[in-house]
Subunit: 248 residues, 2 copies
Amino acid sequence: MSVLLSASELKERLLAIGAARYHDKHPFHRRLHEGRCSRGEVAAWALNRYYYQSHIPIKDAALIARMDDAQMRRAWRQRLVDHDGAAPGEGGVAKWLHLAEGVGLKREDVMAHRGVLAGTRFAVDAYVDFVRTKPLLDAVASSLTELFSPAIIQDRVQGMLRHYDFITPETLSYFTARPEQARRDVDYALGYVAEHARTPDRQQAVIAALEFKCDVLWSMLDALHYAYVEPGHIPPGAYVPPSASGET
Amino acid sequence: MSVLLSASELKERLLAIGAARYHDKHPFHRRLHEGRCSRGEVAAWALNRYYYQSHIPIKDAALIARMDDAQMRRAWRQRLVDHDGAAPGEGGVAKWLHLAEGVGLKREDVMAHRGVLAGTRFAVDAYVDFVRTKPLLDAVASSLTELFSPAIIQDRVQGMLRHYDFITPETLSYFTARPEQARRDVDYALGYVAEHARTPDRQQAVIAALEFKCDVLWSMLDALHYAYVEPGHIPPGAYVPPSASGET
């Protein structure tokens, strides 16, 4: 039923998925960037997002563990360096922890994932499991949401600095290096996909992998929006902001 | 830090988890049972719940696959019989399909899980994965939400028959046999837990397993409530009711 796409047709299909399903279209992201979140909502976002961020090097290591080719392992290894750094306190995950502390959370609570939503855990765990168990091409393709991340990062940093007095450029330092890293990562992953998705079935698997990853990010925001925007919806055991009364 | 609980203390702790975290406390369940759901919301509930139901025999088979003891495998095998039946059209999963058709869904869409929420998939898949990978005691303990199911089934059947003119006793025939099956299943699982949770650590693992399973059921309703109760929240790719305008 599917036909073989050219490399540029496949890339267009992937870009169209982002245009329809990437989480910059989610109501919670608009709320966050437009300054409509309470401080408690921003804290809940940071806490839950840290669960995602802290699993990224685990996901990348699971991917590297499946690569037979040393050159590919070396290239992908840079992602571990970016996220885990060279020493404690360095790297992207540490910068996310810094962001979470900057919005008022306790470091040890964040590191222990205390109060993280079940919806966040299940989505992130599904992503790690996908990368562990699906064919390598699908696993690489699931990283392609980085095609869309430089734009959302620009919106987020500008919007958050403008609207929240408790956010400083230093709190958001995680995002400084990310757009360039993401562009480098995505060039590599796109090159791999173009080279290896050579049948209609494999191309459809690439498309499905990117849709799956968009679902992961989207459902994290569904869970967050449901729990923290309307009163009375915080699930048992989840983080309760100091004042859940909705002050901005 | 934990102390060894007696069998009755452990059972009390498990009952307390149900009292605090079982999904009969979720706003969506109250809405469903009190007749406040639109027909589209009931259909979305049935579609998403079918994803759960159809994975129950897969979960049970994964559990049986891990049992060294033939007597235990034989006892647990009854669950496969209950859910898969003896022939096509028989058993609990077929009856759920019947329920889904009874609320206006197309059989083939339901069986293909078309439009199921990502939040549902990730929660159910996390449950199957839990049973596949955690110690056998934890996996058995995660089935103990059946302690609480007879009561919710009674509420649901009475409430849905009273409030929805499109629901008949025949639509809900799945629930007729379930309370008795659940009591039998839970007696077995509780006996196993009492016999094998003999250290404080193992007892805490049993408690954590039941909390995990409550989180699975709860987060499914979070996703459903978020997507279908407030307008404008249906995620990309998810089921859209024929009229999503909220008629009851």
